[in-house]
Amino acid sequence: MLWPRLARSLLRRPLTDAPVPPLPETVAGLTERLQASARARLGRSLAIRAIDAGSCNGCELELAGLQGVVYDLERFGLRFVESPRHADVLLATGPAVRNMGEALLRAHACMPEPGWVVAVGDCALDGGLFRDSYAVAGGIGAVLPVDLVIPGCPPSPSLILEGLLALVEAES
């Protein structure tokens, strides 16, 4: 039966981890970018659209983990949305593979201002191990202007969260 178990899990300690504060330097850097570009501030809530630009799907596994109960994004005002039209942040993973270039540009073009771009993973940074391939344009920066890079192969959910919280801080 589901109900007794639900009731019991309500009484237990939550599974969610305590939050990690973002690095002050990252926040300062982002705030500077924000001021320099005179972009509209969004307040303490961000809608995120993840887009796979050619990843090995390792980064996606950690993004999926980030959406689970252990990290509980919504308590920070962060949430994943289904359409780039509803998104403040484009979270791009993988190297910018040539076959995805147009889709990546189109997804970004759909976004409302300011349209933050966060590159997640070593591939998204500069193409990673795949950088010299005929099929790869480079990192996400080869196709879109990148505001924040979260390195790692793949970066753990807590690292990704830290980066996103820095964005929230810079925005507020």
Binding site: A64, F130, V136
Partner: protein
């Protein structure tokens, strides 16, 4: 192995490790012979610059047999008229090497979307590409009221890029066709000519969720080609790594399936259990997804001193919670309603494409490379191979649960009997050719390598099970409703990156 196709292959010139070199005439006779021997399933078809190779196996003889043939004038006889699964491989060969499969059932480009600077990038002198990228062509579906519905390449949630072209009649799907290639990274070009240890990180990123399985298949093939054995401790730990990967992926898939069906509670609990395992994996092996742990020659590093204890504690948590979760999911009528009878794969199709893994076993096929090929350490620790016959989403979910429950004692046994000693041996530099198959969480992962005199990779082809899962998913979508796509697709969980390479 007594049918006409087997006889044709086995009577050709042997090269060792189950590989045979056929002359052009014998290869051209293969399709007709294959039609008379339906039990011989095609595992993979690939090219290496001078030859085409096809790997086969049957339920009775699960060790792969490889037929190879030198390619003259950029043409070879197609196998797709006899084996529908060959069509995807032939299209990939045409896109990457520029070789045409004569008489093939499908000559449309697939990996090449017209976005690279050249055509046939792996051929010795790739011609430059000129002109606009072409529009993809899809198979037609005719009938009154049939219309098209395009979806992708940017997919919802965290789906990998793929274009789905549906022909629908109202809500009912008449035909689904999937166009992949959107994550093609050009891996085969990147590892060509590299020493195996430099290629290993690329292999580990063929499909992030199967990093252990692909690394193991590659390492196994390299070791076999060089005639070396990794130390016993490395072999036992490879088993632990592979089983951990199976567990975490199954936990994710079950959670996602129940979430897609609108039942969020198991998804939350299973997600937490998965995180527990990932953290224990990181503490024990230094990487949450266990990437780059298996390398040719053994392991990159030994298990951490207290790693065993951490893993055992994590496994105990999973073992304690899972039976209760299973009961809830089995009793929850609205979940059963969504899953049962949904996305049925006809057993004839599963047999025709030689489906393995969860999808094959849910269709009643008795296959599991760990047991059938009994590679170490599974020769000492034979796994249980649960099967089902309903061949629907529910059966695939139930099998995943069974495999988790069977996997926990397996890991514990492997950890208990961990032999002492080193975890890697050096690789000699010499020529060789071999293949190796391991059972990943999706099914059998096959890898073939050829090393030149200097011990560098002259060729390497890793075949993810998804090569066969995509065509099977297309077939299973027929007559289902559009709204069930996420559910059915997740129950197959075919990898995009693993096929796009």
């Amino acid at each position: 192995m007594t049918g006409p196709a087997s006889r044709l292959i086995l009577s050709a010139a042997p090269r060792g490790d189950g590989a045979f070199t056929l002359d052009a005439g014998a290869w051209a006779a293969l399709p007709a012979a294959l039609r008379q021997e339906p039990e011989l399933a095609l595992m993979a078809l690939w090219a290496d610059g001078a030859r085409v190779h096809a790997a086969f196996r049957s339920l009775a003889a699960p060790a792969p047999v490889i037929a190879s043939c030198a390619v003259e004038g950029g043409r070879f006889a197609a196998l797709s008229p006899a084996r529908p699964g060959a069509a995807w491989f032939e299209r990939a060969i045409a896109d990457l090497w520029g070789w045409q499969a004569e008489g093939g059932s499908d000559a449309r480009p697939w990996l090449d979307h017209g976005r690279w600077a050249m055509r046939a990038p792996l051929s010795p002198a790739p011609p430059p590409r000129i002109g606009e990228p072409p529009q993809p062509v899809f198979l037609p579906a005719e009938g009154e009221g049939v219309h098209q519905f395009p979806l992708g390449p940017v997919m919802g949630s965290l789906g990998e890029p793929a274009h789905h072209r549906f022909h629908v009649l109202g809500e009912t799907i008449v035909r689904l066709e999937v166009l992949l290639g959107y994550t093609h990274k050009g891996l085969q070009g990147l590892w060509r000519g590299q020493p195996p240890l430099r290629a290993a990180p690329l292999v580990a990123r063929i499909s992030g969720d199967s990093t252990v399985a692909h690394s193991w298949a590659f390492a196994g093939a390299v070791e076999r080609a060089l005639g070396i054995e990794p130390p016993p401790r490395a072999i036992a730990l490879r088993g632990v790594l592979a089983e951990l990967e199976r567990l975490t992926n199954h936990l994710r898939d079950i959670g996602a399936l129940s979430g897609e069906a609108g039942f969020a509670w198991p998804q939350a609990r299973l997600g937490a259990l998965c995180e527990v395992l990932l953290r224990a994996s990181e503490a024990a092996f230094g990487h949450r997804l266990l990437m780059d742990r298996i390398i040719p020659g053994g392991l990159a590093a030994d298990i951490a001193l207290d790693g065993r204890e951490g893993l055992r504690a994590a496994l105990r948590l999973v073992a304690a919670e899972l039976p209760a979760l299973r009961d809830v999911m089995e009793e929850h009528a609205s979940l059963q309603d969504r899953l049962s009878g949904c996305g049925v794969l006809r057993p004839e199709w599963a047999a025709l494409l030689g489906a393995g893994g969860i999808v094959g076993r849910a269709a009643g096929r008795d296959v599991d490379a760990r047991r059938d090929l009994a590679y170490a350490p599974y020769d000492q620790h034979p796994p249980a191979v649960p099967r089902a016959s309903a061949s629907d989403v529910e059966a695939r979910l139930a099998l995943r649960l069974e495999e988790i429950l069977a996997g926990i004692p397996l890991i514990e046994a492997l950890l208990e009997a961990l032999p002492p000693g080193e975890v890697s041996t050096p690789l000699p530099a010499r020529a060789g050719e071999a293949s190796f198959t391991v059972e990943g969480f999706r099914g059998d992962v096959f890898c073939w390598v050829a090393l030149d005199e200097a011990g560098l990779l002259a060729g390497c082809f890793p075949r993810d099970p998804s090569w066969l899962l995509w065509p099977l998913l297309e077939a299973s979508m027929e007559n289902n409703i559009l709204a069930d796509l996420p559910l059915i697709a997740r129950s197959f969980n075919a990898s995009v990156s693993g096929v796009d390479l």
